[in-house]
């Protein structure tokens, strides 16, 4: 949304043209400066689609949907500090040769961390740009040698009400489970994340290990992952269990397929006042549209 300059003045037949033009210049200049200073910060610099300017660190780390620490977006930052992320083990299970329990370091160390600046689109209609630190999930999957029967990968979040106060209520069926089709999981954009802004991942953002799938709605990215399981059938994922008509297994960002309760055509970048158009596959269509050739994206939402 472009901010329009107000104060377009009507032509005057009485004022001499030179004076009129002068006044107009003066008003435009003064008005521009004054308006710029007066506008709220989010209005001053409209961020454009291709401008991947990261959302401020404070916003990324204080505005979180992480129901294990409460449904309020501010509460994960307040409550997640008590989560012990070390030692951490991840269980690899199901249809793979190298199953078993992996210490966090053994799982992560072989994969050098890369910075990836991704758009992050929440199903609720807001978005961020986050400089993640992580490595392609596909690299890990190749190491774990899934069998030919592995058609899907399932990710399970820690289930520990003692550390995760939100789990003391039954807001969602715990633990939180997410999943991807194998080709989605192997896609080079799919990231296992260990940090952001060049720092270790804050607890409220899913430490010590979370998934980021930039062309899907944010809820597909399981946080605090304790289990990776290779399975033959499509996993039962949490939001799909809770509200199957609202949250599908695929959850690809799609401006043309609305959520039953709100439009997905536009989104509000965090920190801005106005919305902007949502892009197909969150702007990653060139890279991922091929995964869904021939698939009905309206029924497979």
């Amino acid at each position: 949304m472009r901010v329009r300059q107000r104060g377009e003045l009507p032509a005057s037949a009485v004022t001499p043209e030179s004076t009129y033009l002068d006044r107009r210049n003066f008003v435009a200049a003064a008005g521009g400066v004054a308006l710029g200073a007066l506008l709220p910060p989010g209005w001053r610099a409209p961020r454009w689609l291709d401008d991947l300017k990261p959302t401020p660190y404070d916003a990324v780390t204080t505005y979180n949907n992480y129901y294990e620490f409460g449904t309020d977006k501010a509460s994960p930052a307040k409550l997640a500090g008590s989560l012990r992320t070390s030692p951490w083990t991840v269980e690899v299970a199901g249809e793979a040769k190298r199953t078993g329990r992996y210490a966090y370091d053994d799982l992560v160390r072989p994969h050098p961390a890369q910075e990836r600046i991704y758009r992050h689109r929440c199903v609720e209609g807001w978005s961020m740009v986050v400089p993640w630190l992580g490595f392609p999930l596909g690299d890990l999957i190749r190491r774990l040698e899934p069998t030919s029967r592995a058609k899907f990968v399932e990710f399970t979040t820690l289930n520990d009400p003692a550390q995760m106060p939100g789990q003391r209520g039954d807001m969602l069926p715990w633990p939180y489970v997410e999943g991807l089709r194998m080709d989605e999981a192997m896609h080079p954009l799919t990231l296992l994340v260990t940090g952001l802004y060049g720092k270790p991942l804050p607890n409220q953002n899913g430490a010590p290990l979370r998934l980021v799938v930039p062309w899907k709605y944010g809820f597909k990215g399981g946080k605090a992952i304790v289990r990776i399981r290779f399975v033959e059938t499509q996993p039962m994922t949490t939001w799909n269990i809770v509200a199957p008509n609202e949250y599908g297994f695929y959850a690809n960002v799609n401006p043309k397929v609305d959520h039953p309760r709100w439009s997905q055509a536009r989104e509000r970048p965090i920190g801005e006042f106005f919305k902007r158009d949502t892009l197909m596959f969150n702007g990653y269509a060139d890279q991922v549209a091929g995964l869904y050739t021939g698939m009905n994206l309206v029924t497979n939402y």
Partner: protein, 229 residues
């Protein structure tokens, strides 16, 4: 100070201060990047809940008067209702401007397709005639009985506001449910079994709990026809 003076010089100024203070604070915050990560959400949360709180407080005045005999409470009813309308309007304006970028087509589609948006929009519409007729002049012009009948729309509006909130939330219905519970209590106080003195047939509604021995108070809707403004 008499109780009338307390209302005029203490309670009413407090309502004005809080009622205008919150929007002022939100405006200041918007210009100083002090409304959190999603300022529009913050503004909409405060104005939406503010509208409901205003409506509830307004609705609480009649039972408060009945319970305490504090007749001056009724003088606050319209002021609180007007503030509820102010908040609902700010809420609606931020939706029109920031969420829909003033696009009538997008607004029309959103209102038609999404039940919770429909509920919110209808709620605001219901409040418009109440706000328009909130002046002393309009009260006089309509007459107490008709004015009160019209203003029974406030019950629909309050229920619509709660439904709007309830249908909006993703999964955690606790907060809208609390608002709903307050409304249920406020409505329950209006059930006939609570009123100690049933009025004789034909008496204006709303004066039911008037203690018969007291000097007849002015019709409650007409409070400010006596006040010197």
């Amino acid at each position: 100070m008499t109780r009338t003076q307390v209302v005029k010089w203490v309670v009413k100024p407090m309502i004005w201060a809080v009622g205008l203070g919150i929007p002022a604070r939100l405006t200041w915050g918007a210009f100083h990047d002090a409304l959190g990560a999603d300022p529009v959400e913050t503004i909409q949360r405060w104005t939406g809940r503010g509208a409901l709180v205003g409506l509830f407080l307004s609705l609480a005045m009649t039972p408060l008067r009945r319970a305490t005999g504090w007749n001056e409470a009724i003088r606050l009813r319209r002021l609180l209702g007007v503030f509820a309308f102010l908040y609902a309007s700010l809420h609606f304006v931020t939706y029109v401007v920031f969420d829909q970028s003033l696009s009538l087509e997008m607004i029309r589609k959103d209102v038609m397709e999404h039940t919770w948006v429909t509920a919110g929009f209808v709620t605001w519409l219901l409040l418009v005639p109440l706000a328009v007729t909130s002046t002393a002049g309009m009260v006089r012009r309509l007459g107490g009985v008709r004015w009160r009948r019209l203003h029974q729309l406030v019950y629909l509006a309050a229920a619509g506001g709660v439904l709007h909130f309830l249908w909006l939330v993703k999964e955690d219905v606790a907060t809208p449910a609390r608002f709903g519970a307050v409304l249920v209590v406020l409505l329950a106080t209006r059930l006939p079994l609570w009123s100690r003195n049933r009025p004789p047939a034909g008496a204006p509604a709303g004066d039911r709990a008037r203690p018969p021995a007291r000097r007849r108070p002015p019709p409650e809707a007409l409070d400010s026809t006596r006040s010197p403004r």
